[in-house]
C-alpha cells in the first residue's frame, strides 16, 4: 500500500501539476480551468458567427424591398441566428464561467466528473458543425424559425435531420454539464462552505442546472417526434393523420420557458457578485436573493402557455398563464430592489465590470417591463409575433445575459490571466455597446407597436425610418464587439500584475479571491480552511 501511494503521488507530481503541452492539453483536457477556457472561446466564436448573421439580417432590413437575399435565405438567417446565439453563444458562455468559477468559489479541486466534462465540451464543436453545415446542403438550411414549429419545420429538406441531431448533441452536452455542476456543488464544497454561505453565482448555477436536467430531455423528445413525423410516417403533429401541431408548441415551450431562465439566472448570479464588489459592501438580502432565484426557477415551469395566447386557449388557461406570468415579476422585483439596496450607502466605483452590471440593471429592467406588458393577455394579442416581442427578448438577452457575461469576463479576467486589462479600452467597449444596443433594439418597440410583424424580410414603407435606425445601431454594436476581442487578447498576452484580490472592494464570499492570480493549474488540492 505504501508503495502504491508513493508511486501515485510521484505520478501525480510529474503528470498533473503542469498541463500537458500542445493539442493534447485541449483534446484530453480534464482540468476545469482549461475546459472553462475552451467553452468561453467557443462561445465567443459563436457570438461572432451568430452576430454576423444578425448583421446580414439588419442589412437586408435597412431598406424596404429585397436588396440582398431571397426570403428563404433570410428565414435561414433568422432561424440559425437564434439557434447559434442561444445554444452556441449564451449557454456555453455560462457553462464556461461555471467550469472556471464554481470549483474556485466553493473550494473544490476540480469539477466532480472531469472526463464527462471533457466530453460535454467536445460534443459542441460537432453539434455546431452539423448545424452550420446544414446551411450548405442542397436546398439550404432550416428556415422554420428557431422554435421549429411544425408543419412548417417539416417542409425542410436534407438540413432537417442535421438540425435535429445538432439539437440532440447540444442537449446531451447541456445535461452532462448540468449533472457536473450539481454533483460538484452537492459533494465537493470545502468544509464549512454551507449552502447558505455559497456565493450567489454558484447558487444561481445550481438552480439553472436543475432546470437544464428537467427540460433538455423534453426538447430532445419534441425534436425526435419531429424527426419521426418527417421520416418515419408518424403523425404526432400532423393533423391529416390525427396529430396536433399545437401539442408541439406546448412541448416546445415547456422546454422553452425554463430555457429563458437558464439564460438569465446565471446572469443574476454574476450581477450579485459584481455589484457588492464595486459598492464595497456585502450583497443586501443574500438569503432572499437565493429564495428569489429558486422561486423564479419554479415559476418558470408553469408559465409556458404565455407564448401561445394567440393560438387559441380556453379562458381559464389564459387567466392561469397570465397570473403566473405576472407573478414572476415579484421575485424579479425583489432581486432588482436588493441590488439597488446593495448600492445604497455603498462606495461606488465604475470599473468595466460594474459598468456592465449597471447597464444590466437598467436595461434588463426595461426588458422586464415589456415582459409585464406582454403578460397582459388582451394587449398581448396586439404585441404577439411583432417586433415588440423581438425588442423584449433582445433586451433581456443582449443587455441582459450578454452584458452579464461580458461583465463576468471583465470581472474575472485578471483572476484567470493574472494580468489587468486595458481599462480605457474596456470602458470604451462598454460605452459603445451600451449606447448602440439601445439604438439597435429600442426602436424595435415602436416598429412592433406600429404593426410590423417579426420574421419578415421586407416591410411596408412606413416602417423604414426605425428599421434604418435599428440597422445602424446593429452595425455599430457589432463593430464595437471587436474591442472586446482586442482587450481579451491583450490581457492574455500581458499587462499589469493582478493581485489575488484583483479589485479593491472585493467582498470575499467566494474562495476565488483567496488564491493567487492566475491560479495554479491545480487549486484546492487540500481543502481550504473556512472560518
Amino acid at each position: 500500500m505504501a508503495y502504491a501511494d508513493a508511486s501515485h503521488s510521484a505520478h501525480h507530481d510529474t503528470d498533473h501539476s503542469q498541463p500537458p503541452t500542445g493539442i493534447k492539453r485541449w483534446l484530453f483536457a480534464t482540468n476545469h480551468k482549461d475546459i472553462g477556457t475552451m467553452y468561453l472561446v467557443f462561445s465567443l466564436t459563436m457570438f461572432f458567427v451568430g452576430g454576423s448573421m444578425a448583421m446580414l439580417i439588419r442589412a437586408e432590413l435597412f431598406h424596404p424591398g429585397l436588396q440582398l437575399f431571397d426570403p428563404v435565405f433570410f428565414n435561414q438567417l433568422t432561424t440559425n441566428h437564434g439557434l447559434v446565439m442561444i445554444f452556441g453563444a449564451v449557454m456555453p458562455a455560462f457553462v464556461g464561467l461555471a467550469n472556471w468559477m464554481i470549483p474556485l468559489q466553493i473550494g473544490a479541486p476540480d469539477m466532480a466528473l472531469p472526463r464527462m466534462n471533457n466530453l460535454s465540451f467536445w460534443i459542441l464543436p460537432f453539434a455546431f458543425m452539423l448545424l452550420l453545415g446544414s446551411l450548405f446542403v442542397p436546398g439550404g438550411g432550416n428556415a422554420g424559425g428557431w422554435t421549429m414549429y411544425p408543419p412548417l419545420s417539416l417542409q425542410a429538406g436534407d438540413c432537417f435531420p442535421m438540425l435535429i441531431f445538432a439539437v440532440h448533441l447540444m442537449g446531451a452536452s447541456s445535461i452532462m454539464g448540468a449533472i457536473n455542476v450539481i454533483v460538484t456543488i452537492m459533494n465537493m464544497r470545502a468544509p464549512g462552505m454551507d449552502l447558505m454561505k455559497m456565493p450567489l453565482f454558484s447558487w444561481s448555477w445550481l438552480v439553472t442546472a436543475y432546470l437544464l436536467i428537467a427540460v433538455m430531455p423534453v426538447l430532445a423528445g419534441a425534436v425526435t417526434m419531429l424527426l419521426m413525423d418527417h421520416y418515419f410516417g408518424t403523425s404526432f403533429f400532423n393533423p391529416a393523420g390525427g396529430g396536433d401541431p399545437v401539442m408541439f408548441e406546448h412541448i416546445f415551450w415547456f422546454f422553452g420557458h425554463p430555457e429563458v431562465y437558464i439564460m438569465i439566472l446565471p446572469a443574476f448570479g454574476i450581477i450579485s457578485e459584481i455589484l457588492p464588489t464595486f459598492s464595497r459592501k456585502p450583497l443586501f438580502g443574500a438569503t432572499s436573493m437565493i429564495y428569489a432565484i429558486a422561486s423564479i426557477g419554479f415559476l418558470s415551469f408553469i408559465v409556458w402557455g404565455h407564448h401561445m395566447f394567440a393560438d387559441g386557449m380556453p379562458v381559464a388557461a389564459q387567466l392561469f398563464y397570465m397570473m403566473t406570468t405576472m407573478l414572476i415579476a415579484v421575485p424579479t422585483g425583489v432581486k432588482i430592489f436588493n441590488w439597488t439596496a446593495t448600492m445604497w450607502r455603498g462606495s461606488l466605483s465604475f470599473e468595466p465590470p460594474m459598468l456592465f452590471a449597471l447597464a444590466f440593471l437598467f436595461l434588463f429592467s426595461i426588458g422586464g417591463f415589456s415582459g409585464l406588458m406582454l403578460a397582459i393577455v388582451p394587449a398581448d394579442f396586439q404585441y404577439n409575433q411583432t417586433y415588440f416581442v423581438v425588442a423584449h427578448f433582445h433586451y433581456v438577452l443582449v443587455p441582459g445575459s450578454v452584458f452579464a457575461i461580458m461583465g463576468a469576463v471583465y470581472y474575472w479576467l485578471p483572476k484567470w490571466t493574472g494580468h489587468m486589462y486595458n481599462m480605457t479600452l474596456a470602458t470604451t467597449h462598454f460605452w459603445l455597446s451600451a449606447i448602440f444596443v439601445n439604438v439597435l433594439f429600442f426602436p424595435q418597440h415602436f416598429l412592433g407597436l406600429a404593426g410590423m410583424p417579426r420574421r419578415i424580410p421586407d416591410y411596408a414603407v412606413q416602417f423604414t425610418d426605425w428599421n434604418m435606425v435599428s440597422s445602424i445601431g446593429g452595425f455599430c454594436f457589432g463593430l464595437s464587439q471587436i474591442l472586446f476581442i482586442i482587450v481579451i487578447v491583450q490581457c492574455v498576452r500581458g499587462g499589469k500584475k493582478a493581485t489575488a484580490k484583483v479589485w479593491e472592494g472585493t467582498q470575499p464570499t467566494g474562495l476565488e479571491w483567496t488564491i493567487p492570480s492566475p491560479p495554479p493549474f491545480h487549486t484546492f488540492v487540500t481543502a481550504p480552511d473556512i472560518k
Binding site: P239, G312, Q318, L319, G346, I376, G451, Q462
Partner: protein, 308 residues
C-alpha cells in the same frame, strides 16, 4: 372617413415627419403628450383602432405602460441617486452593516403583488370580453394557405368565396433586384387583389383555420389576431364602429415559410346598406359563373377537409 395605413405612408417617409415623430417620442416619454391621436398607429404606438376590442386592448396597453413608467421613474430614480450620491471618488464610506431588513423586504414583495392584482383585474375582464363569441351577425370562414388567404362567407352571404393575394404592383416590386422603389408603390406589401368586405356596426365572427402550415390573421386596427392552425378552428370577433367605414390593413403574423411577409390582409368596411348591395352583386356574379359552367356552386365542397 377612410383611415388607412397607406394614407400614413407618404407623410411618414419625409424627413420632417421623422423628426416630428422623434419629438413626439421625447414628449411622450416625458408624459407631456398623448401618443395616440388617430385611429391608426402613429408609427410608435399601438393604434386606438376602430372596434371596442382594439380600444380595450389599447386601454390596457396604455395602463400597463404608465404603471411601468411610474415604477421605472421611481426605481431608476433611486438607482441614479445612489450612483451620484455614493461615489467612491467623492469619498463615500460604505455602510457594511446594511445586510438585510425583513421589514423592507416584506414591503417590496407585497407592494408589487398589489400592483399586479390591480393590473390583472381589468385584464381578466378584457379576456372575458374578447372571448364572448355570442350573437355574431356575420360569420366568415378564413383559411390560410402558403401564401394567400381564402374568405368564405356563411349565412346570408353563403356562396361568396374567394382568394385574396398580394397585389400585382407590390408583387413586382418585392422581387429580389426588382429595381422598383417600394416608395413608389401605393400601399407597398399591404395591398391585395381582392379585399375582405364586411359591414360596419355588425358583429363579425371569423372562423380561422389553415390548409398547410400555421399562419396568423391580424388586423391591428380591429384588435383581431389569432393563429390559423391546420386541424383547428379558432374564433375571433369584432364590430367595426359605425361611421368608421374604410380600408384597413394587416399582415400574416406567424412565420409560414418563404412568402410569410407577402400575404397581407385588407378589409374593406362598408355601411350595412352598401354591404348588402355588394353581397347581391357577388351572388349575381357567382350565379352567372355557374350558368356559364353549368354547375351549381357548392360551397360545402370548397370547405377544407379539416373542418369539424
Amino acid at each position: 372617413m377612410s383611415v388607412t395605413r397607406g394614407d400614413v405612408d407618404d407623410s411618414t417617409s419625409r424627413p420632417q415627419a421623422f423628426w416630428a415623430r422623434g419629438l413626439c417620442l421625447v414628449l411622450s416619454a416625458t408624459g407631456l403628450a398623448a401618443t395616440a391621436g388617430a385611429n391608426t398607429s402613429n408609427g410608435i404606438n399601438l393604434p386606438l383602432g376602430v372596434t371596442s376590442l382594439s380600444r380595450m386592448m389599447y386601454g390596457l396597453h396604455m395602463e400597463v405602460f404608465w404603471v411601468c413608467v411610474v415604477i421605472a421613474v421611481l426605481v431608476f430614480g433611486v438607482m441614479i441617486y445612489a450612483l451620484v450620491k455614493f461615489r467612491h471618488s467623492q469619498g463615500a464610506i460604505p455602510d457594511t452593516t446594511m445586510l438585510h431588513s425583513t421589514k423592507v423586504e416584506i414591503i417590496w414583495t407585497i407592494v408589487p403583488i398589489i400592483i399586479l392584482v390591480a393590473l390583472a383585474i381589468p385584464a381578466a375582464r378584457g379576456i372575458l370580453f374578447m372571448e364572448d363569441m355570442r350573437d355574431a351577425q356575420l360569420s366568415i370562414r378564413v383559411t390560410g394557405y402558403q401564401w394567400k388567404w381564402q374568405y368564405q362567407y356563411m349565412g346570408e352571404a353563403e356562396g361568396i368565396s374567394f382568394f385574396s393575394t398580394l397585389a400585382q404592383s407590390s408583387n413586382f416590386a418585392r422581387q429580389l433586384h426588382s429595381g422598383i422603389d417600394p416608395k413608389t408603390v401605393p400601399n407597398y406589401l399591404l395591398d391585395v387583389d381582392k379585399p375582405l368586405v364586411i359591414p360596419s356596426g355588425t358583429k363579425v365572427r371569423i372562423l380561422l383555420t389553415s390548409q398547410d402550415v400555421i399562419h396568423a390573421w391580424w388586423v391591428p386596427d380591429f384588435g383581431a389576431k389569432r393563429s390559423a392552425i391546420p386541424g383547428f378552428v379558432n374564433e375571433i370577433w369584432f364590430t367595426v364602429d359605425p361611421g368608421k367605414e374604410g380600408i384597413y390593413r394587416g399582415q400574416c403574423a406567424a412565420l409560414c415559410g418563404r412568402d410569410h411577409g407577402f400575404m397581407p390582409i385588407v378589409v374593406d368596411v362598408l355601411t350595412p346598406a352598401d354591404f348588402k348591395k355588394w353581397v347581391e352583386q357577388q351572388k349575381a356574379a357567382v350565379k352567372q359563373a355557374a350558368a356559364h359552367t353549368g354547375t351549381e356552386p357548392r360551397t360545402a365542397q370548397l370547405l377544407p377537409q379539416t373542418s369539424n
